[in-house]
C-alpha cells in the first residue's frame, strides 16, 4: 500500500478500479459511467430530432420512435444526470467536509456497481430488440399492454439501478452527518454539501415509492399480479400517483446539486462570500419539503376533481418562492464582486436566464386550468428541457470544468471550454425555445411524425438544427478532454486561484487519504479565511499527524450486483423458457452468497503509518 508512484501492469490497474472503495475513484467511475450513458442518450435524442425535422418523415418507424423517446428519457434521468451528479458528490463532498472517505466505502462501491449493471441491463434491451416503449413514465395503462420484454427491461433495470441510488443517498446522509471535520458545523458547510445532503434526504424518501411501484409493475407483467389492471379490480391511476410521488422529488434531486454547484461557482468567481447563505440553506431545505407535496400537478387532467387540483396548484406555485430566493441571492453574490468570467462562470451566467424561463413555464403549468391546454403538448417538453438542460446539464458541464483539476489533476482548455459553452447554449435555446410555440400551436408530445400544412414545419426544423449545435458543443468537450489528458499538464492545489472551500487546500488530485491531518474549520469558506489571515496553505490542522485508518478494497460489490443482473434475466424469461426459474434462483443465490461472504469476513481495514505520511509530505515539498 505504498503511495510512492509505481508503474502497475494493466491487470493490476484494472483490478484496482474494480475493487476500489476510494470515494475519489468511485466518483470518477460514476462520472465515466454517467458520461457514457449521456452520449448514448444524446445519440437517441439526435435520432428523435432527425425523425421530426420534416413532416411525414419515415427515417425511423413508429415503434422504434417510441423505443427512442422512452430510452432517451430513462437514460438521461437515471443513467446520465444522476450518476454524473453522484460522481461529483463522491469526488468532492468528502473533501469539502474534511473527511477521508464516505461513511460506508463498501456500500459506496456497491451503489456504483448496481447502477452500472442496472443501466447495462436496461440498454441490453436494444440487442434483444425488445425495447421499453411506454415512455419514461411508463403509465400502467400502456406498460401493462406493451408486448415483448421491453417494459420488463425497464422495470428490472430501474429496480437494480434504483437500489444503487438509494444506497448512495443513505451513504451521503451518514457521511455528512457524521464525518465533518472539527469546526464544520452545519451552518459552515459549503452549499454543494448542503444540496447533496438535502438531495440525499429526498432520495431516502422518494426512492422507496419507486421501488414499490416497479415491484407492482414487475408482478403485474411477469408474475400474474393485477395491481394496475382495472378489469381485475386493480387501479391504473395508482401507478401514476406512485410514479409521481417519486418523480417530482426526483426532478429536485437533480436540480438541487446543480444549485449547489452554481453557488460554489458564483462565490468563487465573484470572490465574495455567497450572499444570504442562511437563506440559501433554508430555501434548499424548504424546496426539499415542498417537493413532496406537489406530485399531482402532473395529473391535473386525470380528473382528480377541482378541490385536489386547486390544492396541488397552490402547493406547486409555492415552490417558486424559495427558488426565487435563490436566484436573487446568486445575483446579489455577483453584485459588487470582482467577477472573473472563466468557463464555469460562463455556464453559471448562462444558467440564470435559462433556468428562470423554465421556472416561469413551470408556474404556468402549475395553474391547473391552463395546464388543460398545455398538458401533453410540446410546451411540456420545452418546460422540462429548460429546467433540466438549462439547469441540471449546464450545472454538470460547469462542474466538469470547475472540478476537473480536482478529479484528474489537469485543467481543461479554457478557450475550447468557451467554444463548447456557446455552441451548447445557443443550440439549447434554439432547440427548445421554439417548442413552447409548437405546444401552443397544438403539436402533441410523443408523436412519431406530423402532417404537412399545420404550420409546424419550420419550427421543427429549427429545433433539429439547434440539437445539432448542442451535439457539436459536446463533441468539442470530448475533444477538449482528450487533448487535455494527452498533454497531461499537472496543476497545483488551487488552479483557479480563488478557491474558498477545503477541496482547494489539498493537491489535485488528492492523495488517497485526502488529508494528512484532519483540518480545523474556522468558518464558512474556511480556506478563504485562512488565506486572508496570511496562512498560505489554507489549512489549519486539528490534530497531530498520526496513523490513519483506511478501508480495504473489495471485489464483492461487483459480484453482488452481478447476481442481481443474472436474476433479472431469469425473472424476465421465467414463463417462456425452462431455464428462467433456475437462473432467477441462481442469480439471487449468487447475491446472497456474496452478501454472506461479506458478513462473515472480518475485514477491519488497514493503517497508513505515520512515517509514510511524513514521507509523502516531504516528497510534496513540506505542505503542512
Amino acid at each position: 500500500m505504498s503511495s510512492v508512484a509505481q508503474k502497475k501492469g494493466f491487470g493490476a490497474t484494472l483490478w484496482d478500479w474494480l475493487t476500489t472503495v476510494d470515494h475519489k475513484k468511485i466518483g470518477i467511475l460514476y462520472f465515466l459511467g454517467g458520461g457514457f450513458f449521456f452520449v448514448v442518450g444524446g445519440i437517441e435524442a439526435m435520432l428523435i430530432r432527425w425523425q421530426l425535422h420534416k413532416p411525414n418523415n419515415d427515417f425511423v418507424s413508429a415503434g422504434l420512435f417510441n423505443d427512442l423517446i422512452t430510452m432517451h428519457g430513462t437514460t438521461m434521468i437515471f443513467l446520465a444526470a444522476m450518476p454524473i451528479l453522484f460522481g461529483f458528490m463522491n469526488a468532492i463532498v468528502p473533501l469539502q467536509i474534511g473527511a477521508r472517505d464516505v461513511a460506508f466505502p463498501f456500500i459506496n462501491s456497491l451503489g456504483f456497481w448496481m447502477f452500472f449493471f442496472g443501466g447495462l441491463f436496461l440498454n441490453l434491451s436494444w440487442f434483444f430488440q425488445q425495447v421499453p416503449d411506454a415512455g419514461w413514465t411508463s403509465y400502467a395503462s400502456l406498460s401493462i399492454a406493451s408486448e415483448g420484454h421491453g417494459v420488463d427491461f425497464y422495470a428490472i433495470g430501474l429496480q437494480i439501478a434504483g437500489g444503487g441510488t438509494l444506497m448512495a443517498g443513505i451513504n451521503f446522509l451518514v457521511t455528512i452527518i457524521n464525518m465533518r471535520a472539527p469546526g464544520m458545523t452545519y451552518m459552515r458547510m459549503p452549499l454543494f454539501t448542503w444540496t447533496t445532503f438535502v438531495a440525499s434526504a429526498m432520495i431516502l424518501f422518494a426512492f422507496p415509492p419507486l421501488t414499490v411501484g416497479l415491484f407492482f409493475l414487475t408482478f403485474d407483467r411477469m408474475f400474474g399480479g393485477n395491481f394496475f389492471d382495472h378489469t381485475m379490480g386493480g387501479n391504473t391511476i395508482i401507478w401514476e400517483h406512485i410514479f409521481w410521488i417519486f418523480g417530482h422529488p426526483e426532478v429536485y434531486i437533480l436540480i438541487l446539486p446543480a444549485f449547489g454547484i452554481f453557488s460554489e461557482i458564483f462565490s468563487t468567481f465573484s470572490r465574495k462570500r455567497l450572499f444570504g447563505y442562511p437563506s440559501m440553506v433554508f430555501a434548499t431545505v424548504l424546496i426539499g419539503f415542498l417537493g413532496f407535496m406537489v406530485w399531482a400537478h402532473h395529473m391535473f387532467t386525470v380528473g382528480l376533481g377541482p378541490t385536489a387540483n386547486a390544492i396541488f396548484a397552490v402547493a406547486t406555485m409555492a415552490i417558486a418562492v424559495p427558488t426565487g430566493v435563490k436566484i436573487f441571492n446568486w445575483l446579489l453574490t455577483m453584485w459588487g464582486g470582482s467577477i472573473r468570467v472563466t468557463t464555469p462562470m460562463l455556464y453559471a451566467l448562462g444558467f440564470i436566464p435559462s433556468f428562470v424561463m423554465g421556472g416561469v413555464t413551470g408556474v404556468m403549468q402549475g395553474a391547473a386550468p391552463l395546464d388543460y391546454q398545455l398538458h401533453d403538448s410540446y410546451f411540456i417538453v420545452a418546460h422540462f428541457h429548460y429546467v433540466i438542460v438549462g439547469g441540471v446539464v449546464l450545472g454538470i458541464l460547469a462542474a466538469t470544468h470547475y472540478w476537473w483539476p480536482k478529479m484528474f489533476g489537469t485543467l481543461l482548455d479554457e478557450a475550447l471550454g468557451k467554444v463548447t459553452f456557446w455552441f451548447f447554449f445557443i443550440g439549447f435555446h434554439m432547440t427548445f425555445l421554439i417548442q413552447h410555440w409548437l405546444g401552443f400551436w397544438g403539436m402533441p408530445r410523443r408523436v412519431w411524425t406530423f402532417m404537412d400544412g399545420q404550420g409546424w414545419n419550420s419550427a421543427n426544423l429549427i429545433s433539429t438544427i439547434g440539437a445539432f449545435l448542442m451535439a457539436i458543443g459536446v463533441i468539442v468537450l470530448v475533444y477538449n478532454v482528450i487533448i487535455t489528458s494527452v498533454k497531461n499538464v499537472k496543476v497545483a492545489n488551487d488552479p483557479w486561484g480563488d478557491g474558498r472551500t477545503l477541496e482547494w487546500a489539498i493537491e489535485s488530485p488528492p492523495i488517497y487519504y485526502n488529508f494528512p491531518a484532519t483540518p480545523l474549520v474556522r468558518g464558512l469558506d474556511t480556506v478563504w479565511i485562512e488565506k486572508m489571515e496570511g496562512n498560505e496553505t489554507g489549512l489549519t490542522p486539528a490534530e497531530p499527524i498520526k496513523d490513519i485508518h483506511m478501508p480495504n478494497g473489495s471485489i464483492i460489490p461487483i459480484l453482488m450486483s452481478f447476481g442481481l443482473f443474472i436474476a433479472g434475466f431469469g425473472a424476465m424469461f421465467r414463463t417462456e423458457e425452462s431455464w428462467g426459474l433456475p437462473v432467477l434462483i441462481f442469480g439471487l443465490l449468487w447475491t446472497f452468497v456474496a452478501m454472506a461472504a461479506r458478513s462473515l469476513q472480518d475485514d477491519t481495514g488497514y493503517y497508513v503509518k505515520k512515517d509514510e505520511i511524513l514521507r509523502d509530505l516531504k516528497r510534496k515539498g513540506g505542505q503542512k
Binding site: A201, I238, F292
Partner: protein
C-alpha cells in the same frame, strides 16, 4: 495502532454524571410502570367490552386504545430510545418527516383515489 487516550474525570464531573444517571434511571422506571399501566388499561377495556359491561362501547374503546398506543410509541422513542437526550435532532427530523409523509400520502390516496 492509533494511540489510546485516557481521560480522567474530576470529582465534580464524576458527581454530576452520577446524579444524571440516577435521574435517568428513575425516569426509566417511572415510564416503564406507566407503559405497563397503559397496557393493562387497554386490555381491561377490551375485556370489559367483551363481557358487555355497560358504557364500554366500541366507539369509546377504539379511539382510546389508539391514543394509548400513540402515547406508548412516544414514550418508547423518548425514554427508551433516548430521543429526549441531546444530539438526536437529526434522527428526530427524519422521523417526523417520514411520519408526515406517511400520513399525508395515504390521506391523499384515501381522498382522491379511493373515495
Amino acid at each position: 495502532m492509533a494511540d489510546v487516550q485516557v481521560y480522567k474525570r474530576t470529582p465534580a464531573e464524576q458527581q454530576l454524571a452520577q446524579r444524571r444517571s440516577k435521574k435517568a434511571m428513575r425516569d426509566q422506571v417511572m415510564m416503564f410502570s406507566l407503559m405497563i399501566f397503559l397496557t393493562l388499561v387497554s386490555f381491561s377495556m377490551v375485556v370489559a367490552y367483551e363481557a358487555g359491561v355497560a358504557g364500554f362501547s366500541k366507539y369509546l374503546i377504539i379511539p382510546m386504545v389508539m391514543l394509548f398506543a400513540a402515547v406508548q410509541v412516544g414514550l418508547q422513542l423518548y425514554y427508551f430510545m433516548h430521543m429526549s437526550e441531546k444530539g438526536h435532532g437529526i434522527p428526530q427530523m427524519f422521523m417526523y418527516t417520514g411520519a408526515l409523509l406517511g400520513f399525508l400520502i395515504p390521506l391523499t390516496f384515501v381522498t382522491i383515489v379511493w373515495w
